[in-house]
Symmetry: C2
Subunit: 629 residues, 2 copies
């Protein structure tokens, strides 16, 4: 059926359900949503459960928008009047193309009201569809830029969403029935995650990252399976780390024109890290694979989904993100294929245990037949101490190094480990576990922290309460200080004993190199690894015991400082957690593919799951294709 | 390096090796061969082993051709003079574009002379490169047409070979190293054989057949792995049966422009069966996937290789065919990849046992790491009686049915089973095993037999001797009579008790349907199955015991006649032979993929080989991709 006929049919169906007096002007697919345009959104909003009933009948995500919109000035004062002073509204943005108004408030709950009552009142008053976001406690320039850019590109984005929407809701035509996954990277190795999920109807790429030890090791994007890129239906991003997202902008350079689905924080963190990545590549004098223009294309094409939101992304595929516990916004991507035909999930990176920041990864699903799971710590020996033990160990190191007048360098991913370690340090210092000391943050860490506070609903409830109910924001503690210039860095290097948390996490570039260059020779100092060091990275080499490190063409750094690995802060599950994640799964999947781990670890994990839990397992190689059905 | 520079370099190298006085005018890649053009091919031919030495040094197959050619009239009389009357030359064709002359003779050995001495004499006299073929004892219209067509298209073909040659000999550029096989059909099923072998440099399609029970079940040609077809380096055809070759012409319709490699008889048999296939499809009123024009394209692009001839087909792939023992010209395709990197072979269909027509399949190779092997009779129960037992059984059925005044219908593939059964019947009748009787051949059987006698070097030595040394050609025995009109068929149906060997072999169309329609009701008659009946075919249904068969929309055939399966004539190895084929292999491969068999049979064979012979085995599904390295 032609899409126009389809829309007409849906419109007729809606008209029959809608009470007389409400005029349905038109319906349109915009991205995954079905938008109902009406002259009378106020009356529409008054009908309890009408939208829910329509969504269930038509089996689409439905939003209602007014055909004609209230004047922004007048609408703004109406909002302030309805909501009241109490909410602390910090800004109101009108997006004419979508008919949405973004309300930024210190207390978004007040704007929403009980069961959304205040929101409905607003809709009734102004026509515009209100979207409420929290005023971030720390202002993030990334979030600001992303929002500004999306507003500037709104007209283009409206057209684009319409095109994407019509593609998603096209007819299913093939008589064949199969589901395949092609491994384009990240198998028997850590890095360059990229998996192609395909059916006779659709093709979806999951992640598209870099390999940490090399700026050139992209996923195998040159094989014919994913070409032409213009025919891909969707890209799904599990989380913002570069080994999962670095090459997504590249896809737009090579002809991709479709959407990238992720959670909202993943979109902002990914854009931040991609821009930083370009900067680092540039400084290293290496070939820059894409420019900031392609990062903008990515933002323009991004469609964000919250955890648990079931969404059509292709005629035969529904996507739902579930919390993966790894970093802010990290999601397990669950795909429901066909009408009850099959379900497969990709964990991305996974932490099955509660941390200071997040809840444990979700492992209960309505249905699940196949699972692609990470195996970073999948080896039989990969046991990590508990978070409490790890923190005590860290405090001990601090005491020792500070006592001897040394400086502590903690290389960490800007996103994830940094915040986790900051929270541990803040509490340790507050409880007197080690002497008060300045903690300098260098690289993108402060900005990443700001993004964390922009999305409190993605933090676990204890931390959210601490910040928003008890008014104690540990990220704003006095001990933390941003390093934002070369001069400041110089002062830190020559100054008093201190703690420096800095990127990159595996010592492959970034400001950490500058600290290493200046502080490595002094044996009073200490380098503390708190995250996974991938094979081939400088971090791994130093961890292994290298003591002379060639930098660039001529320079060599002599490593005299202490090198200590404090296990237990990882955002990855250790072996025990991985096994527990699977053994407590509901339902038990039929097939598990162990990916994202060194060769021996994926093989070990696959064979252990098979032996212990009697689930069919595989440790795939890159460039293979597996039939799921 | 540019290909022109490469050729120049080779030319310089050759010039240094060639004795002074011989002028090398130019060198050119034409298909897989390197052609040396010289004004002085006579002197070239005089140099013992010069071509061998050059071939070894340059590592290419080398042919020498004259820059200027002798006048055809004068050259023809020179050939007749040098060769003498004795050879029985029946025709001489000059192919100006290649500088070759095709000499068709009753005794090709005489034209060739001892160790090729006479051939060298001819070359010295006339400049043209002589190619000798045998005057077929039964004239084949297919062979005649194919040769005529190739001559007519010679100019176009010369250009095409040049283009293919330059593509084959392009530089290797990728730094990656991997070998993959994608299954596009024929896994856990019989039919629609199609496998894609790919490396970072090259892509080769092995076979492209139909599924016997359906004219629509092509291999999965719509998946992106083999697109664009214009980028495929080669198609390799193991043998001429339609489940391996039916859709090769279709590739030219959809953009393929490269070569199809096969043995010479496979090319002719395939063309014959493809044209017949189009005819059958047309008569059934089904959609015709391609026309005879695409069959012509296939012939124009075919490059024939004899068993054992090692040939470059891509910058990093060498192909060698080895006898598969299944039908005339059937080959096991052995691929040597990279410079000693890896070897993989595809058996096509396989008979590991001597038959009346062929020697047993080859299972000794210089090197072999992976094997894709057929599993038609791979189930633990799939034991076949010996050929001698099978023949005695057949003679017994003949005696019984003829005695009661019945007719015997033997549905058989035109190519393979028909000839094998003809030889058995001829001998049985000669030895008085059953009363003399007319044996009618309907469908393409006579033409297929003619092609057999055109390529005696592809028959086993006993049969070749019988025909050519002892002068007894069993295919020309008096008992055999061709049915070549509807009237004749009518006379056979209403006439005396007789034997009818007719196509198609699995009762999916063809003249056998006419015999069934008219003879099935009479219980004195007998239907004798001598070949494999694939799942879903009418043959399989009758074998299972169906006694009322709907034909077309309205008609129903009532089956009263005897239905007997005489096992043991199959061109496929039975379970014991398959196991023996593997256990006697030299070298023992590291990996075996069991394909071309019903699901339970491929799984059974794979697991038995693993248990008994300790070789890693897999029973792949369609649409999967396996890494070999």
């Amino acid at each position: 059926m032609l899409i126009e006929e389809r829309l007409k049919e849906i419109q007729e169906k809606i008209k029959k359900k809608v009470p007389k007096g409400i005029k349905v002007a038109s319906v349109e697919f915009e991205g995954p949503e079905l938008v109902i345009y009406t002259d009378d959104p106020k009356t529409f909003a008054d009908q309890d459960d009408l939208i829910k009933i329509l969504a269930r009948d038509i089996r689409k995500r439905i939003v209602v928008r007014p055909t004609i919109l209230e004047d922004p000035e007048r609408a703004a004062s109406a909002i302030r009047r309805v909501v009241g002073e109490n909410a602390g509204i910090s800004d109101i943005f009108f997006e004419a193309d979508s008919g949405e108004v973004l309300i930024e408030a210190e207390k978004p709950g007040v704007v929403i009201g009980k069961n959304g009552a205040t929101l409905r009142d607003i809709t009734r008053e102004i026509g515009w569809t209100p979207k409420v976001v929290r005023t971030p406690p720390i202002e993030s320039s990334t979030v600001k830029q992303v929002r500004q850019y999306l507003r500037a590109a709104h007209q283009e984005r409206k057209e684009l969403l319409k095109r994407i929407g019509r593609r998603i809701h096209r007819d299913v035509i093939s008589k064949d029935q199969w589901i395949r996954v092609t491994t384009l990277g990240c198998c028997r190795e850590v890095g360059r995650a990229a998996f192609l999920l395909s059916t006779p109807e659709s093709r979806v790429l999951i992640d598209c990252g870099e390999k940490p030890d090399s700026f050139e090791a992209t996923p195998y994007l040159y094989v014919p399976e994913i070409h032409p890129l213009s025919q891909l239906d969707a890209v799904v991003l599990t989380h913002a780390h570069l080994d999962h997202c670095a090459y997504i902008p590249l896809l737009y350079k090579y002809g991709y024109e479709g959407p990238v689905y992720s959670t909202p924080p993943t979109r902002d963190l990914a854009a931040m890290l991609q821009l930083d990545y370009l900067d680092v590549v540039n400084k290293e004098g290496k070939t820059i694979p894409y420019s900031s223009n392609e990062v903008k294309e990515y933002i323009k094409h991004s469609i964000v989904l919250n955890y648990g939101c079931v969404t059509d992304i292709a005629p035969d595929i529904k996507l739902t993100f579930h919390n993966a516990g790894h970093i802010l916004g990290s999601g397990i991507a669950h795909f429901h294929i066909g009408d009850g035909l099959y379900n497969v999930a990709f964990t991305g990176d996974l932490h099955y245990g509660k941390s200071r920041l997040f809840n444990a990864a979700v492992n209960h699903y309505p249905r699940l037949e196949a699972l692609f799971m990470e195996s970073t710590y999948g080896g039989a020996q990969d046991m990590q101490p508990s978070r409490a033990e790890a923190e005590e160990r860290l405090y001990g190191v601090f005491r020792e190094v500070l006592e001897r007048g040394g400086k502590i360098i903690i290389p960490a991913f800007a996103v994830g480990r940094s915040q986790e370690v900051m929270l541990a340090i803040e509490e340790g210092m507050r409880l007197g576990k080690f002497p008060p000391v300045k903690v300098y943050l260098d690289g993108m860490i402060k900005e990443a922290t700001a993004i964390h506070t922009t999305y409190p609903e993605y933090l676990n409830s204890e931390l959210r309460n601490l910040i928003f109910k008890e008014g104690h924001n540990p990220f704003l503690a006095e001990c933390f200080e941003q390093v934002d210039s070369a001069e400041k860095r110089e002062r830190v290097i020559t100054g008093e004993p201190c703690v420096i948390i800095t990127t990159s996490g595996m010592l492959n570039g970034g400001p950490v190199m500058e600290y290493l260059r200046n502080l490595a020779a002094d044996e009073r100092n200490c380098l503390v690894f708190v995250g996974y060091q991938a094979d081939g990275t400088l971090g791994r080499r130093i961890q292994k015991g290298w003591r002379e490190i060639p930098i660039g063409n001529r320079e060599t750094i002599v490593v005299n400082l202490d090198c200590i690995t404090v296990d237990g802060f990882s955002g990855h599950s250790d072996r025990r957690q991985l096994m527990n994640f699977v053994s407590h799964m509901q339902p038990k999947p039929e097939k598990i593919f162990a990916i994202h781990g060194d060769e021996n670890k994926t093989i070990d994990l696959a064979s252990s799951i098979y032996k212990k839990l009697h689930i069919q397992t595989t440790s795939p190689m890159n460039l293979e294709t597996y039939r799921l059905i």
